[in-house]
């Protein structure tokens, strides 16, 4: 789980905590332990930034979203409940919400088209841990499940989840009734669930 290549800028006081699971770290973070928070940041910052950048397509905006999300996690630390899901899922949910807010603010204010900026995709390094191997396999499976959907279903899911568009905006853009958009979303997600099997075993 601990990748020594990712230690740039890490404080030495955080090192002993890297053996702990996220849920154990959250107990320390609850007591305002910044070192424990740093370990959680190191574990999940790339995933958070990847999602934010996929949604915002702008480096500065994605950075703001990730910063807001981590600070929100810090400020809301008293409300974490391990029985409600993993820390990673919680964090990525916050990132998603913040990115949607940012995209919708931007669409009202600027109404402009943001060009994709030149951030290179990270070259996939060889997997170093079992968790990395599992995560990469999960990514392949989810991508495959999305790709197997009819275009009309995968498109509304991607426009909503990654594009931050409301169902009404999607309906207008596709010149399709809102009810049809809802139906495509529901059918697409239900099919993905079938393809993925029981995803109850969510990776930490």
């Amino acid at each position: 789980m601990f990748n020594p290549l990712r230690l740039g800028g890490a404080s030495s006081s955080a090192e002993p905590l890297r053996v702990l699971a996220d849920e154990e770290l959250m107990q320390l973070i609850y007591r305002s332990n910044a070192d424990a928070f740093e370990v959680v940041y190191d574990r999940h910052a790339d995933a958070a930034f990847s999602l934010a950048y996929r949604m915002c397509a702008q480096r500065a905006l994605a950075e703001d979203v990730v910063q807001e999300a981590f600070l929100s996690l810090w400020h809301s630390r008293a409300r974490y409940d391990r029985h409600r899901g993993s820390v990673r899922t919680w964090l990525l949910g916050i990132v998603h919400n913040r990115a949607i807010d940012a995209l919708r603010r931007r669409s009202v204010r600027d109404r402009g088209v943001i060009a994709e900026e030149g951030i290179e995709e990270r070259l996939e390094a060889p997997e170093r841990t079992d968790l990395e191997v599992a995560r990469r396999e999960e990514a392949r499976e989810v991508r495959s499940a999305l790709d197997e959907l009819p275009d009309e279903q995968s498109r509304v899911i991607e426009l909503a989840y990654f594009g931050g568009m409301t169902q009404v905006q999607i309906a207008s853009m596709l010149d399709t009734p809102v009810g049809t958009v809802k139906g495509r979303m529901r059918l697409g997600l239900a099919k993905m669930r079938m393809s993925l099997g029981d995803p109850a075993e969510v990776l930490p």
């Binding site: 800028g9 740093e38 996939e124 991508r143 809802k182 993905m192």
Partner: protein, 231 residues
């Protein structure tokens, strides 16, 4: 899910999928959360679909978070940890039910709904779920107070940065003078912050925010920069 169609109550707008995908407007979202309190079919559907949506971030092409970002985040976190003197935030028994991870909550929905239903039905001593626009002294800044399940969360935008060696502090005012909380915070470079107000808002008339020296104060030393009136 087709077997569930006949069980859908009248007025069900089949918003479970748009809900978990974050494709509802704020008004639709609030309306659907209220609907969930009374619709077991939608609750079940949300829980099932949320599991798929939770996996969607894996599809995003992998990228490395920029190093300066970590420095910015950790500088704020360490400053706030030092300012707080590392005390544990207060946690009420209901608090653990109130965190809302995303537009789609799903797995946690049953507990949230139970509390929301109590608040909406008037069975709670605190205010029902609603959003209050707070008064803010700073031009362009905005502050929304979200009430849910007897607790409150401040959502701030375009707030000025705190001065050196100062932090924002949240106060709650019931009948007497404002009482301090352990919610001390700073804002992002864009002036944004989301801050949970510790404890229940039962009986609270106002929630205030002032700028205080690092470590916070026991009584406000400056006039409030945010005032949210709950009464």
């Amino acid at each position: 899910m087709s077997s569930q169609e006949s069980m859908r109550p009248p007025g069900c707008e089949e918003n479970a999928a748009p809900y978990v995908l974050g494709a509802l407007t704020e008004e639709e979202h609030e309306s659907f959360v209220r609907h969930l309190a009374s619709c077991a079919v939608c609750r079940e559907e949300v829980a099932a679909l949320q599991l798929v949506v939770d996996a969607l971030p894996a599809v995003a092409p992998p990228r490395s978070a920029p190093s300066p970002l970590k420095r910015q985040v950790m500088a704020k976190v360490r400053a706030e940890a030092a300012a707080a003197g590392a005390p544990a935030p207060r946690r009420s028994p209901l608090r653990s039910f109130s965190w809302r991870p995303a537009v789609g909550v799903a797995v946690a929905m049953a507990g949230v709904i139970a509390i929301a239903a109590i608040a909406l039905s008037g069975g709670s001593s605190g205010p029902a779920n609603k959003v209050i626009k707070a008064q803010v002294t700073a031009p362009r800044a905005s502050a929304l107070l979200r009430l849910s399940g007897g607790h409150a969360e401040l959502d701030l935008a375009n707030m000025p940065q705190t001065e050196p060696n100062r932090v924002y502090e949240v106060w709650v005012k019931r009948s007497g003078a404002p009482q301090p909380t352990d919610a001390l915070f700073t804002v992002t470079s864009k002036g944004a912050a989301t801050v949970g107000v510790p404890g229940s808002v039962s009986g609270v008339k106002e929630i205030l925010v002032t700028s205080e020296p690092v470590g916070g104060s026991r009584v406000p030393t400056r006039t409030p920069v945010i005032v949210a009136n709950l009464s």
